[in-house]
C-alpha cells in the first residue's frame, strides 16, 4: 500500500539520523524497510497507530518491560531477542498464552542501521519461535548522547484460556514446594563477561529464552500452580523475597539443591557475586502445593527448557518474610535482596 522509496536504506553503511524519528517520509521508510520487513505482520503493515487484536476467550493479561542492556549483543542473545523473551515470559508467568507484542524503540542518532536491522531480525525470529506477533510499534530518535544506542520497550498481551488457573505472587502458602526450571545466573554471567572493564571468557551463554512452551506444559500438568515468576533482575534472591513479601510467608531453600553451572560459580567467585542475585532470562520459579511438586517437576523436566529443573525448598511461615537457606555445610543464612547495584566485589 505504501510505495517504495526512491532509494532503499543503506543497511551496510547507513546510520540512524534525527530525521528517522521526525515523522516524515524518512521515518516511514525506516519503519517499513527495517521493522516491517523483519516482522512481516499484516496488522503492523497496515500502518495504523494501533492494532486490532483477535483474542480467544479468556482472561486478558498485559505486561511491559524496557530493555537497555549493554552490550547489545552478548553470548547467547541480543537486545532484540531479549526484548521478546522477557516480555513473553512475564505474560506466561500468569499462566496466560502470550499472543501479541508491541515494540517501542528509542534510537540514538548514529546507531548503525545494520545493527538496528540485526536487532529487528533477531526480535522477529524470537517472536516467531515464541508464537507471538509484533502488531504495533513506535520509533523515537534522540540526539547522539541522548541514549545508549537502542532501548526497546515491549508490551505483551496474552490470554488465560484455562479457567482453573489462578497464579499470582500472593498465593504462596506454607508447605508449598519451590521449584526452579534450571541453572541460575547464566544470563548475568554471560553479559558481565562482555563488560569492557571485566572482560573474561566463559563458555556460558545467556539462557535467554521464551518460557511459554514450558509454562503450557506445566499448567497442563498442574493447574494448581500457586505462583510463577522469572528471576530476572536481582536473580533468585529478589524473586523469592518478592514472593515472600507478597504472600506474607517465609521461604526455606537448600543451597545444595540450587542448580548452578560450574563456570557460573567460577565467575561469581572471581567477581565476588552471589549467584542467587545474578539475573536470568530463561528460567522460572514455580510454587505449588507440596502434593503436586513431583508432577510439576516431571512436567518441567520433560520440556527442553526445564531439563535441569529442581525442587529447591519450600514455603514456611515466617513473620519477617525471610528467605532462608541451608548452606552446603548445614548452616543457615538469609538470602537477602541485592543491596545497591551489582558491583563486583573486590575486598
Amino acid at each position: 500500500m505504501r510505495r517504495p522509496f526512491p532509494h532503499p536504506l543503506n543497511l551496510s553503511r547507513g546510520m540512524v539520523e534525527m530525521s528517522h524519528g521526525a515523522g516524515g517520509r524518512a521515518m516511514i521508510q525506516l519503519i517499513d524497510e527495517i521493522f516491517g520487513a523483519a516482522f512481516q505482520d499484516p496488522t503492523l503493515a497496515r500502518g495504523d497507530d494501533q492494532a486490532l487484536l483477535s483474542l480467544p476467550a479468556g482472561r486478558v493479561v498485559m505486561t511491559t518491560d524496557g530493555y537497555v542492556i549493554t552490550p547489545r549483543v552478548f553470548p547467547g542473545g541480543d537486545i532484540g531477542s531479549l526484548a521478546v523473551h522477557g516480555t513473553v515470559n512475564d505474560v506466561a508467568m500468569s499462566g496466560a498464552v502470550p499472543l501479541y507484542l508491541s515494540a517501542g524503540f528509542i534510537l540514538e542518532e548514529g546507531l548503525p542501521l545494520a545493527d538496528l536491522d540485526a536487532i529487528a531480525r533477531s526480535m522477529a525470529a524470537a517472536a516467531r519461535a515464541a508464537g507471538v506477533s509484533v502488531v504495533t510499534g513506535d520509533t523515537k530518535v534522540v540526539e547522539r548522547g541522548g541514549c545508549d544506542g537502542v532501548f526497546i520497550t515491549t508490551t505483551g498481551v496474552g490470554v488465560i484460556t484455562d479457567d482453573r488457573l489462578d497464579i499470582a505472587g500472593d498465593r504462596a502458602r506454607p508447605g508449598d514446594a519451590i521449584l526452579v526450571s534450571g541453572t541460575l545466573g547464566d544470563h548475568g554471567v554471560a553479559v558481565m563477561s562482555q563488560r569492557e572493564n571485566l572482560a573474561f571468557e566463559t563458555p556460558i551463554l545467556s539462557d535467554s529464552a521464551a518460557l511459554n512452551g514450558l509454562v503450557a506444559d506445566m499448567v497442563a500438568a498442574v493447574p494448581g500452580i500457586r505462583a510463577m515468576r522469572d528471576p530476572t533482575r536481582g536473580g533468585l534472591a529478589a524473586t523469592l523475597n518478592e514472593l515472600a513479601h507478597q504472600s506474607g510467608v517465609g521461604m526455606a531453600i537448600r543451597e545444595a539443591d540450587v542448580p548452578l553451572k560450574p563456570a557460573v560459580r567460577g565467575a561469581c567467585e572471581l567477581l565476588g557475586l552471589d549467584p542467587l542475585t545474578v539475573p536470568n532470562e530463561g528460567k522460572l520459579v514455580a510454587i505449588c502445593p507440596p502434593e503436586h511438586a513431583d508432577a510439576l517437576l516431571r512436567a518441567m523436566r520433560s520440556h527442553p527448557l526445564g531439563q535441569e529443573a529442581a525442587v529447591i525448598g519450600r514455603v514456611v511461615e515466617n513473620a519477617e518474610h525471610f528467605v532462608q537457606m541451608e548452606t552446603l555445610l548445614g548452616g543457615r543464612r538469609i538470602v537477602d535482596w541485592l543491596a545497591g547495584e551489582q558491583l563486583p566485589r573486590i575486598c
Binding site: 545444595a256 519450600r314 519477617e320 548452606t327 552446603l328 538469609i334 545497591g340 566485589r345 575486598c347
Partner: protein, 391 residues
C-alpha cells in the same frame, strides 16, 4: 572450582564441626577474633555459626578495608571529584560508603561526578591513557594484598609517562592494626576489659604477601594463638579446631592452616616493590581504632609526584563519623552489630550509615544480609524448629 569446592565439602565440614564439639572443654570459652573481613563474610555466607558450639564465639575484627577507612579520607576522595573534577577510579565496594555529609561516591557519580568502578588497578591506568586531557586518580584502599597492585599501576604509569595519573593512597598495615587492638584498653585490661580475646583467625591473602613471620610477635609477646586461615568453610572450621586445641593446650603459636598459599617469608618480590615505593606514615587515623602509629603507607620521595595528596589541595581528614553509628566499637570487637541502635532501622545496606554496613565483609552488612534471622525471635522459633527445606 579446583581448590575451592574441596574445601566446601559438606561431610568433612560436618565432621570438623563434630570434632570441634568434641574438642571444646565444658568450662572453657573460646573467644576468637577473625581479623579479616573475608572471614567475616565466609562465616556469614556459609552459616558457620550454626555449626559451632556455643562456647566458641567469633568476634569480627578490623580487617575490612572499606570499614576501617575513616570518613575524612572519603571526604578527601569526594573533594577530588567535586572540587578538582578528576576522574576517580576505585574498587566497587568503596562507592557506597557515606562520607561526612552522608554522601557516597555513588551519589557523587549520580550528581554528575566522574567516578568509575575498576576491577583492577590496570584498568585505572587504562582510563588515564584514554583521557590524556583529564586528571585521573586511583583511590587506593586496602591492606597488604591490594598494595602491590597499586605499586604495579604506578610502575606502569611511569613507564607510559602518564602524567595525568596519580594515586590517592590509603593503604594500611595489618600487624599495626592487630597490635593497636591488643594494646587497646578494651582488650588489654584482662580483668575489666570488655573484649576477651583468646586467639586470632589470621588473614589468608594478606599473609600470602607478608608471610607468617610478622605474627610471631603477637603469639610470643601477647600470648595469643594465631592460625593463618583460608577463606573456605573447611579452612575456617579447621582453624577453629586448631585454635581450640592451642587454647586447650595453653599454647600460643603461629600456625598456618592456609599452607597451600602462605609461606613463612611471604611474597618477597611484592614486598620489595612496596618497600621501594612507599614510606610508613608516622600515624594514620583508622575508623574505630583512631590514630595508629606507623600503620599506613604513603609515597616516598622518589614517587612523590604520583601522590594525589600532594598534587591536589584536599580538605584535612578530620571528617566526623556518622552520629549514632557504632562502627568504631564494632571494629574493635567491643560491640556486635545488633547492639547498634541504628542497625536495621536507620542503617541498612540500601542506605548505610556507617562503613560496616557497606561491604559484604563489613560486620553489620554480613550480619544484616545473612545472619539477622538469628535476631528475629518472635514467631520465628517455629520456623527455626521446622527448618528442613525440602517439602
Amino acid at each position: 572450582m579446583k581448590y575451592v569446592d574441596e574445601y566446601r565439602d559438606a561431610a568433612l565440614g560436618r565432621g570438623l564441626a563434630r570434632a570441634i564439639v568434641a574438642a571444646v572443654r565444658p568450662e572453657t570459652r573460646y573467644n576468637l577474633m577473625e581479623f579479616c573481613g573475608g572471614h567475616t563474610h565466609a562465616i556469614a555466607r556459609h552459616g558457620l555459626e550454626d555449626l559451632l558450639p556455643g562456647s566458641v564465639r567469633l568476634i569480627h575484627g578490623p580487617g575490612c578495608p572499606v570499614c576501617v577507612l575513616p570518613v575524612g579520607r572519603l571526604d578527601m576522595a569526594i573533594a577530588l571529584v567535586r572540587e578538582h573534577g578528576v576522574i576517580l577510579c576505585t574498587y566497587g565496594d568503596m562507592m557506597r560508603v557515606p562520607g561526612s555529609g552522608g554522601t557516597s561516591l555513588l551519589q557523587v557519580k549520580a550528581e554528575g561526578g566522574d567516578v568509575r568502578m575498576v576491577y583492577s588497578t590496570l584498568d585505572a591506568v587504562a582510563v588515564a591513557q584514554a583521557h590524556p586531557d583529564r586528571a585521573v586518580v586511583f583511590f587506593a584502599i586496602g591492606f597488604e594484598t591490594t598494595t602491590p597492585p597499586t605499586a604495579m599501576a604506578v610502575t606502569r604509569a611511569e613507564a607510559l609517562d602518564l602524567r595525568n595519573f596519580s594515586v590517592f593512597c590509603n593503604h594500611v598495615l595489618t600487624p599495626a592494626a592487630i597490635q593497636s587492638l591488643l594494646d587497646s584498653p578494651d582488650v588489654r585490661d584482662l580483668d575489666g576489659g570488655s573484649v576477651p580475646l583468646d586467639g586470632f583467625i589470621g588473614p589468608a591473602h594478606v599473609s600470602t604477601v607478608i608471610g607468617a613471620r610478622p605474627y610471631a610477635f603477637f603469639a610470643e609477646e601477647y600470648r595469643k594463638p594465631v592460625v593463618i586461615t583460608g577463606f573456605e568453610p573447611l579452612d575456617v572450621l579447621q582453624a577453629v579446631l586448631m585454635l581450640v586445641r592451642q587454647i586447650n593446650d595453653g599454647r600460643a603459636e603461629v600456625e598456618v592452616q592456609y599452607a597451600r598459599a602462605v609461606t613463612r617469608r611471604g611474597n618477597e618480590k611484592a614486598q620489595a616493590l612496596v618497600a621501594g615505593m612507599f614510606d610508613l606514615r608516622k600515624v594514620f587515623a583508622w575508623r574505630g581504632l583512631g590514630p595508629v602509629p606507623y600503620s599506613a603507607l604513603t609515597f616516598n620521595t622518589r614517587y612523590a609526584t604520583w601522590d594525589a595528596e600532594r598534587r591536589f589541595a584536599l580538605p584535612d581528614a578530620a571528617g566526623r563519623d556518622p552520629r549514632g553509628c557504632d562502627c568504631g566499637a564494632i571494629l574493635r570487637g567491643v560491640k556486635e552489630p545488633r547492639d547498634c541502635r541504628l542497625f536495621g532501622t536507620a542503617c541498612t545496606p540500601e542506605k548505610p550509615v556507617g562503613a560496616c554496613m557497606v561491604s559484604s565483609e563489613g560486620a553489620c552488612a554480613a550480619y544484616w544480609t545473612h545472619g539477622r534471622f538469628r535476631d528475629a525471635r518472635h514467631g520465628e522459633d517455629r520456623q527455626c524448629a521446622d527448618h528442613s527445606p525440602t517439602p
